[in-house]
Structures are given as structure tokens and as C-alpha cells.
């Protein structure tokens, strides 16, 4: 899932500025699961904003709503009736959610309440970790199901660098060395010989480095 984190309230207040009829939109999918931008967080943010302005001696209208998925136009359509007279939309979706609303309602100012962090999973209660960089060319078959692109700090393809020590990465003792994990997994699977072959130079053009990406399924196009 997409993992996100709420911005500092001071930063959000700066975005609100002089606007006074605001809609906070939560999203029921990934950001609900990672406790960053679901219905509960949308309600809390709305109260916090009202309170912050009341303290400054100004009453603003802040309404909260949550839709099932901010990343699909048909769900975003549902916002239309409640957007009347709103002068600002604060999206609590991921970066995709913010942009989907902005694309659907181009006359409206839409701002983000979250920082979208990564594609990952909840490791334990309150902790989320990155697992995929969407590089566009999956190599998990060669690395025992552990991704060298996202788990190695340097996205190396041919084993651990000299900074790997006792299974940890040089950037922090709290970060596992991705290649150490890959080595141990392949050892368990009895497939260490697959590491002897040099993995070729990567084609990064399938990643973000090739420019904004698009998937076209002609068989599915109308």
C-alpha cells in the first residue's frame, strides 16, 4: 500500500492562509490503513484548523468528508455537490489523491495535508516500512523475494558493499543491509549459486528516470 504521514499542522495552516470555506477530504484506502488520512484523521484535522483560527479570532468553515478512493475519478465525482462555495480543498489522500481531485475540479485550489512516503507495509503496530520503488522491471525472482532496489540503500545489484556490517547498512544501525537479507534468504532456499552470476547494468528507463510513466492496455481500451 501507499504509506503517508501527516504534515506539521503549522504547514497546513500556512496553506489555508485567508481561505475560510474549506473541505477536508479523507481517503478510505491506503492512508486509512496507515492512520494518516482516513475519516478519523479528517475529522481531527478539521477541528484542529477551526480551533487554530478561533484562537486567532477568526471563524472559518471547515467541513470534513471521506471518499472510498481518491485515486479514481468516479469516486472523486461524488465530491461535486459538497464543493459548492468551498474555496479550498485539503486532500488527506496520497499525492495521487490530491492530483485526481485537482484534475477533476480544475477551478478549485487543492492542497496536500500529507507527505506521501513510499510503497510498503505495516511491519508492526505503528511502524511502516518500504518494500517497492516501482522501478518497472521486477527482479524479485533472482533475489529470493527481497528487493535490492528498495532494500539496499544504494540499489546495488551485485551484493553488499563494504559498508555492510553485521547485517546492518552503513547509513544507520537501524537499517538492515538488503543484500545481507538476500544472502541469508537464498542460503535458506539453497539457491546461493544464483548470486554468482553478475546481474547486468539496470535499465532505469522503466523507472521514473524514463520520464512520467504510462501503462496502455490496448485490449482494454475503448
Amino acid at each position: 500500500m501507499i504509506v503517508a504521514e501527516q504534515k506539521e499542522i503549522s504547514e497546513i495552516i500556512n496553506m489555508v492562509g485567508d481561505h475560510n470555506n474549506i473541505l477536508v477530504v479523507g481517503c478510505d484506502t491506503c492512508v486509512t490503513v496507515c492512520l494518516a488520512g482516513g475519516a478519523k484523521e479528517a475529522a481531527i484535522l478539521s477541528s484542529a484548523l477551526r480551533l487554530a483560527y478561533r484562537v486567532k479570532g477568526k471563524e472559518i468553515t471547515v467541513e470534513a468528508t471521506t471518499i472510498e478512493r481518491q485515486c479514481e475519478i468516479e469516486f472523486v465525482d461524488a465530491l461535486e455537490p459538497i464543493l459548492k462555495r468551498k474555496d479550498l480543498v485539503i486532500s488527506m489522500g496520497c499525492g495521487i489523491g490530491v492530483q485526481t481531485i485537482a484534475e477533476r475540479f480544475p477551478q478549485l485550489l487543492v492542497v496536500p495535508a500529507l507527505n506521501t512516503k513510499f510503497l510498503g507495509l505495516p511491519e508492526k503496530q505503528g511502524v511502516w516500512v518500504e518494500r517497492c520503488q516501482a522501478c518497472g522491471q521486477c527482479v524479485l525472482d533472482k533475489t529470493g523475494g527481497i528487493c535490492p532496489i528498495s532494500r539496499c540503500s544504494k540499489s546495488l545489484l551485485n551484493g553488499p558493499c563494504g559498508g555492510s556490517q553485521n547485517g546492518k547498512c552503513e547509513i544507520s544501525k537501524d537499517t538492515d543491509c538488503g543484500w545481507h537479507l538476500i544472502y541469508e534468504r537464498l542460503k535458506t532456499l539453497g539457491r546461493l549459486e544464483s548470486l554468482e552470476e553478475i546481474m547486468p547494468v539496470k535499465n532505469w528507463s522503466t523507472s521514473r528516470d524514463g520520464g512520467p510513466r504510462k501503462v496502455i492496455r490496448e485490449d482494454m481500451c475503448l
Partner: protein, 298 residues
């Protein structure tokens, strides 16, 4: 005799290293280089070492060539994509540089520009393959020609670079490092300069493996300045383990730096029996390299 020729003729080879300045004043670096002239067979120049921005290794290597000192151009994958790597390698050749030490490079997170975007387009194994290709007169370009991916473009003048790499013989655990070590040999590494080694017996074991792979190894000798430095290395630097007996030797000396010089000299003498040379690192105390060599009788 060049660095490459010495290694090929199985002559014990000594290298040291200098670090370019943070700034444009190269006088100290050149003074250090001048001191080493005639005493070591080649001088490594570090490349934004520890991910700290400095004057370039390429420019510094060229200055060494002009001084009649044979450089070893250290080049990392952290700050350059494949275009920049190849371009710098062509430039190195054109500037009279022949020896190249390929490194992955420390992560930007551990350096002085932690907000920078690191590159790591290719890894150090790939970089060795790239050098092999440039030496054969082709680059890494992949253009669609006649509906097929081209295997590089023919260069107008090929490189004659002598590629080397690094290895960490005291890494813990060692096996994943050894896998990478043999990949680097396959990818064309003709010599290795190792991370600092202090455990002679462990290094002997490592050399058995290196001999099987038929490559040249220069053991890393890192000058210990004080017991405190040794303890710091043990705690903070991956792949370096200073044994307690050496720390005690320094603690019991009234002049720890002198004890460190003695230890380094002793290590060099030991290494003569089992590997092809030594790479002396005296970070910040380059003048001590000469004391070490005097003490070792080299």
C-alpha cells in the same frame, strides 16, 4: 617500471593515498604527494571520500601525472551516472592516467551533503565491466539500430586503463563479500586494494581464496594514531577490527603514534610473505608514511 608492470612482474608494490582539499588550495596535497615521490610506486587519490565534497580526484590525478608521480584514480558510482563515469574515464586516459580504482562510494547520508540525491546508476562490478568495454574500444550506449539494441558505439580511440577494485577481507560476515569479490575479478579487476587489515591469520585465509582467483592484492595498512582511534574504528567503521593486543600495545607506549608507526611497519613486513603489496593509509598524517617505510626498511 609502472604500477601495472610491477604487479605483473610480481614485485612487492607499495601505494599510499592523498586526499584532495575542500577548496582550491592544493599546496598541501601537492606537498604530501611530493614527499611520497620515489618512495611509493603509485599514489591513490580519493574521490569525495566519505561522501564529503572536495576538489576532484580526476584533476588531482592529472596534477600528479605532471609531477611525475603515477596516480591511481579512485572513482565512485555515487556521484556519476553511466554517462559521467565513461566521460571521466575517457578524460582520465587522455590526461595520462592509467590506473583506476573502482568503488561503490559511501552513501551521501554519511557525508556532508546528506540532502543530496545519490546516483548509483551502476554498481562497482558494472563499472569494472564498463572499463573493460572502453579498453576494447566500445562504450555502453544502447541505441536501437536495425530494430536491435546496439552493443555500444565504437570509440574514436580506446582507453588503456588498468582497473582495480576494493575488498573487505575482515568483513563480518565474510561470505557475501567474497561472492562480490569473485564477481569483481570476473568483471575484470586486475588488482585489489583492501580495507585495513589487522588480523594476520584471517587475512592469510582470505589470501588463499584470492590466489585461487588469480588476482593481485595490496593489503590495506591503516596507521593507528592512538588507542582511542583504534577503539573508534572498532565501533564505527564497517569491516575494520583492531585486535585488543594492538590496542594494549599502544596503551602501554608513552608515544602512541610512534607505536602505531611500528605496528604498521611490522604489518608491512609480514605482508611481504603473503600478498602482492600494501596500500598505506595515514589519513591526515601523510608525512608519517615515510616514517612507516623507514621503519619497515623499504
Amino acid at each position: 617500471m609502472s604500477f601495472q608492470q610491477r604487479l605483473e612482474k610480481k614485485e612487492f608494490t607499495i601505494t599510499a593515498e592523498i586526499g584532495p582539499p575542500k577548496g582550491t588550495d592544493v599546496s598541501e596535497m601537492l606537498k604530501n604527494a611530493q614527499r611520497l615521490k620515489g618512495r611509493v610506486h603509485a599514489v591513490n587519490v580519493t574521490d569525495n571520500q566519505s561522501a564529503v565534497m572536495r576538489l576532484s580526484s580526476l584533476a588531482s590525478c592529472h596534477m600528479l601525472v605532471e609531477m611525475g608521480i603515477e596516480p591511481i584514480f579512485q572513482i565512485t558510482c555515487r556521484d556519476r551516472n553511466r554517462l559521467a563515469l565513461q566521460s571521466d574515464l575517457l578524460s582520465a586516459h587522455a590526461l595520462g592516467i592509467r590506473n583506476v580504482l573502482t568503488l561503490t562510494g559511501d552513501h551521501t547520508q554519511v557525508g556532508d551533503h546528506p540532502q543530496a540525491k545519490p546516483v548509483f546508476d551502476v554498481d562497482s562490478t558494472h563499472l569494472l565491466q564498463i572499463i573493460q568495454k572502453l579498453n576494447e574500444g566500445r562504450d555502453l550506449s544502447t541505441q536501437f539500430m536495425n530494430k536491435k539494441l546496439s552493443d555500444g558505439t565504437v570509440l574514436k580511440g580506446k582507453t588503456q586503463l588498468f582497473p582495480g577494485a576494493v575488498v573487505c577481507p575482515e568483513a563480518n560476515p565474510l561470505k557475501p563479500q567474497l561472492l562480490r569479490f569473485s564477481k569483481k575479478v570476473t568483471a575484470g579487476a586486475k588488482f585489489f586494494q583492501t580495507q585495513a587489515v589487522y588480523d594476520y591469520e584471517k587475512f592469510k585465509e582470505f589470501m588463499k581464496k584470492a590466489r585461487e582467483l588469480n588476482t593481485k592484492v595490496l593489503a590495506g595498512i591503516l596507521l593507528l594514531r592512538s588507542p582511542g582511534m583504534a577503539k573508534y574504528l572498532n565501533k564505527n567503521v564497517p569491516g575494520i577490527t583492531v585486535p585488543d593486543v594492538l590496542i594494549k600495545e599502544m596503551e602501554s607506549s608513552s608515544q602512541p603514534l610512534k607505536a602505531g608507526v611500528k605496528i604498521a611497519a611490522r604489518q608491512i613486513k609480514q605482508m611481504q610473505e603473503i600478498c602482492d603489496g600494501v596500500h598505506i593509509m595515514a589519513i591526515g598524517l601523510e608525512d608519517k608514511v615515510l616514517d612507516i617505510l623507514d621503519e619497515a626498511g623499504m
